[in-house]
Symmetry: C2
Subunit: 230 residues, 2 copies
Amino acid sequence: MTKMTHQTIRQSILERIQKGEWALGDLIPGEAALAEEYGCARTTINRALQGLADEGLVVRKRKGGTRVCNMPVRQARFDIPIVREQVEAFGGHYRHQVLRKVEKVPPLSIRTRLGLEKGAKALQLDTVHLADGRPFAYEARWVNLKVVPQIRSAPFDEVSANEWLVQTVPFSSGDVSFSAVAAGKDVASALECKEGDALFVIDRTTSLAGEFVTTMKLFYREGYQLYSRL
Amino acid sequence: MTKMTHQTIRQSILERIQKGEWALGDLIPGEAALAEEYGCARTTINRALQGLADEGLVVRKRKGGTRVCNMPVRQARFDIPIVREQVEAFGGHYRHQVLRKVEKVPPLSIRTRLGLEKGAKALQLDTVHLADGRPFAYEARWVNLKVVPQIRSAPFDEVSANEWLVQTVPFSSGDVSFSAVAAGKDVASALECKEGDALFVIDRTTSLAGEFVTTMKLFYREGYQLYSRL
DNA sequence: CATATTTATATGTACACACATAATAAAAGG
DNA sequence: CCTTTTATTATGTGTGTACATATAAATATG
């Protein structure tokens, strides 16, 4: 190995771990020792090891040293899909259709998720995403009108609610969860599938500076897979 | 802000993005400029921005500068669950039961996944994971006997196949995917649920130095959720 | 002997500097 | 005017140094 970047070193250390040079839970040499072995500065080793630690492959502790993580494959990063891109990635023609757009008092589960007061209204927005004219995913969304009142006059013929929100609301954090549910009547008819079919669901709530902006369930037809390398 | 670590600066920049100081896709000031503004070295700003880039919040390009990412919430990190821990996290008593353990020629789909030759045998291992004596998840696994022949004599009364593999095979990479399926007859009876119930499935294949070690499907009962903050 | 205190040590972080690299913008050449 | 070459510029990375901080281990204390 001629070039010694923190990346090559990181890769090299990873391979040594994979080869079993250090067992699970074992202590690996200190930064100083590795620096000498690789013939580089301790800073460089530090960066390499920090990288591995970020990925969850090693655990580092001051004074305690660095040790190989006990639970090898532990974390996966998933790209949260954007429906339009998914469809277009397969060469399909994307289109969406708003099935419902009403302001009303949401059910309790949604109310708590959006942090609304009792009796407050929110915008309910149901959309089907189509690939080449055929249903691909069904989106059931609630939007907090206090945070984004402008959504009332948004042009949903052109952009989807998701894309509009992304462009309008600066930046947001939130949470996601994945689960499986049986298709209800509404969803089944919108997706043109059978009632009771197993659907993959992405449930997502986004917030901005402590205020909840929107919560959404995205139902995919049976067979859909969310994939990731480790 | 008295202390200026790369972390505080990173947080500060994040907040400025969230407040909308720089719009989506906008160029943010260069490292040199920010370093002066925050009164720190360029190196420190570099680390802060790299961190944001790793998370996918900004995109960096040499000469092109750093710009706020167009698609805000883009990636989520999930902890790939270990069933025993999940059960014990809820205060439940974990137990597992091996339903099947046979060596046989696997179907084509499994054969290609494990990279086996035609006619080669593999170990099929089906397990139910129980929480307080009640079915929690069903595991259907195939193990490549060429890579881990010792598994034939592993004590599966005590440890689950997953834990045994984790402890025995040094370190591994692989892939995961999530999906939803309707419960088949076998799975339904093992999980004591109705046939056709919507199950959440984690599908995982692990490999070691280019050789496939094992592939597994983990079926969770309806209602199970995999959660992550963004 | 159990508990508090100190000390040694490995990682964490910041800085100033130098040079590498990619990509754009400007200048030179045909 | 188009193409090629040459700066310019912002990020990427490595080094050596200094000090901060957490914590395991050794030591002192009651």
